[in-house]
Amino acid sequence: MSVRVYDLAHARAGDKGNTSNISVTAYDAAGFQVLQRELTPEVVLAHFRHLGAGPVRRYELPQLGALNFVIENALGGGVTRSLAIDPHGKSLSALMLTIVLPGHNEAGAAAD
């Protein structure tokens, strides 16, 4: 059965220049363990690459059950000059939550 980030966590996106940061906070400790293991910067980059985004850095805050992803070049050239309808990328938190975790996705697991 496939598990989405949405099933385990909530998220919020913020902007600075052309960089989006998206926090992912697990609802419980078990969920955080799964996310820590499977929601790697590589997985996130693969999900955001079509926006021209990358590289991706990940910061861990285990005491809060949270991961903070810093995704460069995700905002169409930067909030102030982007032509995007959502130049701040506020909606990108919802894109993060659509990621299907590779260890829980049969196709993804087979590919590994």
Binding site: T19, S23, H50, Q63, N68, G78, I85, S91
Partner: protein, 467 residues
């Protein structure tokens, strides 16, 4: 009724005279962006039992736009919503003895102070003192130092100077505290780091020093949590069936109780809607934060990587574990510059074959612009309902879709043509095109940043004259 509330306000003012050191102050957030909702700001003043109210209204580039306003009219250049917001919030704050701090001065803090004073009489305000923070405007310094390096791309500042619209340094909490130290009931600033609007009252009330890193850390973190108003109290959070927020429509603004020893608890307007708990605090902690162990502000380098939250009551949370390192020797300057024009327009399609008709509309507009000889640095095509937010090419076809075309160019006429051509699809495009909008051409004010030595910036507190 008015007599009663004035009597009450008088008693409160006496209790908060500057010579009385309180062991706890309460700071509320009255606005988190320029056009933030005003009613929750009034509500927190009336029901929050505040000592201080901070209103943050200055996004990265808004000051550039306001610098242009000032160039057209020297009395303008402050946040456009200043008077509407102050009319609603300042008189009740004053009556209750609440001191107000705001960066709505934007590109013209003195002009903002004058405008408020002019109207304060109409608003039936009792007499008040207003301190104005000046010195964040550093465009002369930028022109004198074309060798400075842009943080974003490493290019020399020189490349932007011919197009520069504004340059403002992010000031720290010290200038806010200095403003309050004059005894002013209102402190108006231009560019000040957002958390500093909240840390300033703490420095003033408790006399915290810049080598007391534990207190600076907590004060800065409190400011960071509060600065986006409703984002701490259940805004940006609700997801029906998954994450519920009670009375989101009545969302209240946040406040912080801060003790002299640096302890902080955050809460929100009593009786207001929304929620404030460990989950909302965690989301807001990481909002616009990159490396949580090095969040650089003009006042300190905050390390929030070990922070924990503790629910201490309903809609009430304490935090622990914030630390800080000394402030850096530099200040960040945001340089606003002209970056051409953006033109855009939208058109709707629905029913059978809607997406194919929208795609034909896109090709028609592009070809018409091309045949007119108009060129663009960058053009962006969206199908709203399919890919406009996440760029997803695999979305299923919806019943209805809106095409959107946006383009950037240095030629204003070419920018204007984009929305006009989109809108004309009503009559000269594919069948069944409806709901067209021409958004016209907007001048783009972009921003880049440089760091400058702190000592280059000369700030001053100016008392606005009541006479």
């Amino acid at each position: 009724m008015r007599g009663l509330s004035n009597l009450f306000a008088g008693a409160k003012i006496a209790a908060t005279e500057d010579n009385v050191v309180k062991d706890r102050i309460r700071i509320g957030c009255g606005a988190g962006f320029a056009d933030d909702r005003i009613p929750p700001g009034v509500e927190i003043v009336e029901r929050g039992d505040l000592d201080y109210l901070a209103m943050e209204c200055l996004a990265e580039r808004t000051i550039a736009r306001e610098t242009l306003d000032r160039a057209k009219d020297p009395t303008k250049g402050y946040t456009p919503v200043l008077l509407e917001r102050m009319e609603a919030i300042f008189p009740p704050a004053l009556r209750r003895g609440i001191k107000t701090v705001t960066n709505m001065g934007a590109a013209n803090p003195m002009g903002a102070a004058d405008a408020v004073r002019k109207h304060a009489r109409e608003w039936d305000c009792p007499d008040y003192r207003c301190a104005v923070v000046v010195g964040d405007e550093v465009s002369d310094l930028m022109r004198a130092h074309p060798e400075l390096v842009l943080m974003e791309d490493g290019a020399p500042l020189e490349s932007l100077l011919p197009r520069m619209a504004s340059a403002n340094a992010y000031l720290g909490a010290d200038v806010v505290a200095q403003g309050l130290a004059t005894g002013a009931e209102l402190v108006i600033t231009g560019r000040v780091a957002d958390p500093a609007l909240f840390l300033g009252p703490m420095l003033h009330a408790f006399g915290w020093s810049y080598d007391d890193y534990a207190k600076l850390a907590n004060g800065t973190l409190a400011g960071h949590l509060l600065e986006c108003s409703g984002q701490l109290t259940g805004g940006c959070f609700a997801d029906p069936g998954k994450k519920e927020v009670e009375d989101l429509a009545g969302l209240g603004y946040p406040l912080a109780d801060v003790w002299v020893d640096g302890r902080v608890e955050v809460s929100k307007t009593p009786g207001s809607g929304g929620r404030l708990d460990v989950a909302t605090c965690t989301e807001q902690l990481l909002y616009e934060m990159h490396d949580p162990s090095a969040y650089i502000t003009p006042d300190c380098v905050l390390d929030a990587s070990k922070v924990t939250f503790e629910q201490t009551g309903r809609d009430r949370v304490a935090f622990h574990g914030a630390t800080a390192k000394p402030r850096t020797p530099t200040l960040k300057v945001v340089v606003g510059y002209f970056d051409g024009y953006m033109g855009s327009g939208e058109m709707g399609f629905a029913g059978i074959n809607a997406v194919a008709r929208a795609k034909l509309g896109i090709e028609v507009v592009k070809e018409r612009l091309r045949r007119r000889g108009l060129t663009y640095e960058e053009m962006r095509i969206d199908l709203i309902g399919m890919n406009s937010l996440h760029g997803n090419d695999t979305a299923p076809e919806p019943y209805e879709v809106r095409l959107r075309i946006a383009a950037r160019t240095t030629d204003k006429k070419a920018a204007e043509a984009v929305g006009a051509e989109v809108r004309s699809l009503h009559m000269q495009g594919p069948t069944g095109a409806g709901g067209g909008i021409n958004f016209g051409a907007k001048q783009i004010l972009a921003v880049k940043s440089v760091l400058i030595p702190r000592e280059w910036v000369r700030t001053e507190i100016v008392m606005e004259d009541a006479a």
